[in-house]
């Protein structure tokens, strides 16, 4: 999206010039009935409509995914990557609007749902992932790693650095199981001997909702990339409580469809062989239900329901679930196979409204061909600042920081120093200065106060995040001192404690204030300034 508002104040009143263009990119996989990829199609062979209105295809490219398998990795001595577990804060780097970030690539996400996964299953799913990475990964594959035990964590953004991926997978802690669903006292559960069995159904609804919400957050994060993404979801089944989890299940599936993500759930239990009323890990049920078949029926129904949720996630998003298979890596291979060579179609949308609504895309093939097309079903239009919710704003800040070159209207000066605290520890004070005259503008516009948002990150030489800052301050624009604002600087101080090394610091400041004049669509404006050394700075004794 390119938004360029021009403003001119003429004697006769405000004249408004506005240009808004939105480049929309759609990846289309075209396959024949037998599943073969159709090559050699031209732009004129496709018709693209958005919300029913035909669009002119401006960009057309064929993406060839190189399916040569990578050779088995050889052990090479490498530098030890920074302190292990320093992964907090890693996110999926977004693409700029209209940008095709990963060309000729296939995007796979390995998502390990550790919550409620027994240790044996955790080991099995990690083994499958490692097996894929060592022997079945192809040149076109980019893999990201996420986990969920109590919160969603991105351990690795999309990369083809196989060693790092292997290391990341090996670093996932075994035994961190998060919260498991509680007992509901049905006929399949072992007798605890207690006079009263508590019914944890309400907790289970909440617990499963959280899991599904984590998946929803994951697909929303992936949604900023226009490419087709496959999320391989390792879980030991997922049980829903009646129809009470429907709302969240629906939200997750819809978010996946809108984000062009297909789920490839893998039942990490493999091909389950169990005695009729449960294996030896479970107590005997006791009671008549053992003799009337009720315990067995309930156990079977529960098992089927756990697999069914995985199936639903897959089939409703266009993926495939791997159930009852001991070779879990087949699930990843399936995802790999399903993303084949594709065409990139780009058009400038005729709908220029910035309403944040979902726009439905339809791609059809013109020639008398019977092709099965797979493409994203739509996208969310950009929003104007007024329509931002607080979560939108956070995301915008994050994305602006990661994109590296945000629009800068604000002058920002950054001062960095360092003090040695101990042999292996330096304190790095960071001072951010903003000229008051920049904010003075807002005061003149009649605003009562303005808010400054600060977001910053510091990375070491290997690109591993070492620290983050996220803060905001409110500056009063009315009152006694406000008049002097234009002559002063605003200063924000923070600091990091770091080990000796080479670091890159990036800082982003935005100012928000209401405006007097109307910028057409926007009733507010944002100034953003970014500062940071493009040259890494070294800390050494």
């Amino acid at each position: 999206m390119l938004l360029t508002p021009f403003l001119a104040l003429a004697q006769t009143g405000p004249v408004k010039f506005e240009t808004t263009t939105q480049l929309v990119v759609v990846n289309v996989a075209a396959k024949s009935k037998s599943g073969e990829v159709l090559e050699g199609l031209k732009a004129s062979d496709f018709t693209v409509t958005e919300d029913g209105k035909p669009q002119e295809i401006k960009i057309f490219e064929f993406q060839r995914l190189e399916d040569t398998l990578l050779p088995a990795p050889v052990l090479v001595a490498r530098d030890a990557t920074g302190a292990s577990g320093k992964t907090a804060g890693v996110t999926i780097a977004p693409a700029k609007a209209g940008e095709i970030k990963y060309k000729d690539r296939r995007l796979l996400v390995l998502f390990f749902d550790q919550a409620g996964m027994p240790v044996a299953d955790q080991l099995r799913s990690q083994k499958a992932a490692l097996q894929f990475l060592t022997s079945r990964i192809s040149k076109a594959d980019l893999v990201a790693v996420m986990t969920y035990s109590t919160t969603l964590e991105v351990l690795q953004d999309f990369t083809d650095d196989r060693d790092r991926l292997i290391q990341t997978i090996k670093g996932i802690p075994i035994g961190a199981t998060g919260m498991t669903n509680g007992s509901t006292g049905d006929d399949s559960e072992g007798d605890t001997g207690a006079a009263y069995t508590q019914d944890n159904s309400e907790f289970n609804i909440f617990n499963t909702d959280r899991k599904l919400a984590a998946l929803e957050s994951a697909v929303k994060m992936l949604g900023s990339l226009p490419e087709k993404k496959a999320l391989v979801y390792f879980a030991s089944g997922m049980s829903l409580t009646g129809i009470d989890n429907q709302a969240q299940l629906r939200a997750t599936i819809n978010a996946a469809i809108r984000g062009n993500v297909a789920f490839y759930p893998v039942d990490a239990r493999g091909l389950v062989a169990a005695a009729p009323l449960g294996d030896a890990t479970q107590a005997s049920q006791g009671g008549q239900a053992m003799y009337s078949g009720s315990s067995q029926r309930t156990a079977q129904a529960n098992f089927q329901a756990q697999q069914e949720t995985l199936y639903t996630l897959a089939s409703d998003t266009g993926g495939k679930a791997l159930l009852d298979q001991n070779d879990l890596s087949l699930g990843i291979v399936q995802a790999q196979k399903d993303i084949s060579n594709y065409y990139i179609l780009g058009y400038y949308s005729t709908n220029t409204a910035l309403d944040g609504h979902y726009r439905r895309i339809k791609v059809q093939i013109n020639r008398n061909l019977t092709a099965k097309l797979d493409y994203r079903s739509g996208y969310f239009a950009s929003k104007t600042f007024r329509q931002f919710t607080s979560s939108d704003r956070e995301r915008e800040l994050q994305e602006a920081l990661m994109l590296g070159d945000p629009v800068t209207d604000l002058t920002v000066a950054l001062e960095v120093n360092y003090f040695r605290q101990a042999r292996d520890r330096y304190f790095v004070p960071v001072s951010v200065k903003i000229p008051g005259s920049d904010i003075e503008l807002a005061r003149k516009a009649g605003a009562e106060s303005t808010r400054l948002d600060f977001i910053g990150e510091i990375k070491d030489a290997k690109g591993v995040l070492q620290g983050t800052v996220r803060d905001d301050i409110t500056v009063k624009l009315k009152g006694e001192d406000a008049g002097q604002l234009s002559r002063r600087n605003l200063e924000y101080d923070t600091g990091f404690t770091l080990q000796p090394g080479t670091y890159t610091l990036k800082f982003l400041v935005t100012v928000h204030a209401p405006m007097l004049v109307d910028f057409g669509e926007g009733a507010g404006w944002a100034l953003a300034g970014a500062a940071g050394g493009s040259e890494p700075q070294s800390l050494s004794s």
Partner: protein, 415 residues
């Protein structure tokens, strides 16, 4: 706690308490092996064969036995006192008076009592079918061993002269058994594009001569004739020959094919609804005709309702009646009834429950679920019980029905 030391021919009893001897010998070697296998003959096919075998013991069996043994003299007393203005009673003084009633022990258990167990085995074949469906065909067998049996030693049929031997206590042993076989069929559609159903049919039969289970043990029947325990063998009280159930659910706006991308007022109206229904048809659990009135009590005991009716040989099924009341007759005084246990097939039950719900979304994070749940949606009368006490005014008539239509409205707010 007190048990009764019973001579091998039930001719003499003596009380023993925990200080004198072991009340029940421990049961130490209860191993419960569990075996299971799953086989996928073709890696590419979806056919899965599963089977397994396991031994599952009854649980929590001793607590009820202990409470039975605790409620016996010398630890239990029966006292009848009344308060008057001359002799007001308080908690402090009320229980000091000597009991005028002599309480006798009413419960004894075989010291060699063993914990009952179920041996269960099954074999299931499962295969995926088109349209997101899968089907299973399965067999399940369960054999119950050492199940709880209760009888009254030296008891005689009502009307016969009372035995000179001790005859007023219930004796519990673990010599019962049961056998259950079931054929199971399932045809399920997995939840896809908002539509799901689970259909299952089961054909099963269960026979026992004792109380199955152990947890609670509320259903252990007291045998009619202690000298003819084999006459207790009959259909289990839970035996339901045919069991058909169908579960349906439809949610709008789910998935690619379910219209999740419909926008505008059409989408607003159409999305986020869930309708679900549960239909179940089951053949009735069987009933036994027992003799009521003054012959319902076993002579010399407080135990009642164990005397069964005589079978006259007429068929049970007859048109115009719930069951043929002439099939059963009162036995002669001093005789046990000749009819078996659980010989009347009970009423087929039908139930239909439904629910309708809608999710209302407020922004990205908050939503509210409004649900209407109806039990017995059609408000249809489903008879669950028949009068089977011979001589009672309700004999041969319907005496119980499942609940009438009940609608619950649920509002759940998520934030």
């Amino acid at each position: 706690m007190v048990n009764l030391l019973v001579s091998s021919d039930f001719s003499a009893i003596a009380t023993v308490d925990a200080g004198q001897a072991a009340l029940i010998h421990p049961d130490r070697n209860n191993l419960g092996p569990r075996l299971g296998f799953a086989w996928r003959p073709l890696t590419k096919g979806s056919l899965v064969v599963r089977g397994g075998y396991g031994i599952y013991y009854n649980t929590s069996v001793y607590s009820i036995i202990a409470s039975n043994m605790a409620q016996q003299p010398p630890f239990a007393q029966s006292l009848s006192v009344s308060s008057s203005t001359a002799n007001p009673l308080s908690i402090q003084t009320g229980f000091l008076a000597a009991s005028t009633q002599t309480l006798t022990s009413t419960y004894a258990i075989d010291p060699n009592y063993r914990i009952g167990y179920a041996q269960t085995w099954n074999l299931t074949v499962q295969r995926d079918l088109p349209l997101s469906m899968f089907g299973t065909i399965g067999y399940l067998g369960t054999k119950g061993t050492r199940l709880d049996q209760q009888f009254i030693p030296n008891s005689v049929a009502p009307g016969a002269p009372v035995s000179v031997f001790p005859n007023n206590y219930i004796y519990e042993s673990s010599n019962g058994n049961s056998i259950y076989h079931a054929a199971q069929f399932q045809l399920n559609r997995r939840f896809h594009s908002g539509f799901m159903w689970r259909g299952s049919y089961q054909f099963s039969k269960s026979i026992d001569n004792a109380g199955t289970g152990g947890r609670g043990q509320g259903n252990t029947p007291v045998a009619q004739n202690w000298l003819d325990l084999s006459a207790e063998r009959g259909l289990s009280s839970f035996d339901a020959r045919h069991n058909l159930s169908l579960q349906l659910q439809y949610s709008t706006g789910m998935g690619m094919g379910g219209g999740t991308l419909i926008n505008g007022w059409k989408g607003e109206l159409m999305k986020d609804w869930t309708i679900a229904a549960n239909v179940s048809v089951r053949s009735g659990t069987p009933f036994t005709v027992i003799v009521g009135g003054n012959r319902s009590q076993v002579s010399g005991t407080a135990v009642g309702n164990t005397l069964r009716a005589d079978a006259t040989g007429l068929p049970v099924d007859v048109t115009g009646m719930l069951f043929n009341t002439a099939t059963f007759a009162e036995p002669l005084a001093g005789d046990w009834g000749t009819a078996g246990r659980n010989t009347i097939p009970g009423p087929t039950t039908f139930s239909l429950d439904g629910s309708l719900g809608r999710v209302f979304r407020f922004g990205e994070r908050r939503s509210a679920d409004l649900q209407f749940q109806a039990q017995n949606l059609l408000n249809r009368v489903t008879i669950t019980n028949w009068g089977t006490v011979l001589g009672s005014s309700t004999y041969g008539l319907a005496t119980g029905a499942a609940g009438m239509r009940k609608i619950t409205i649920n509002l759940r707010f998520r934030f």
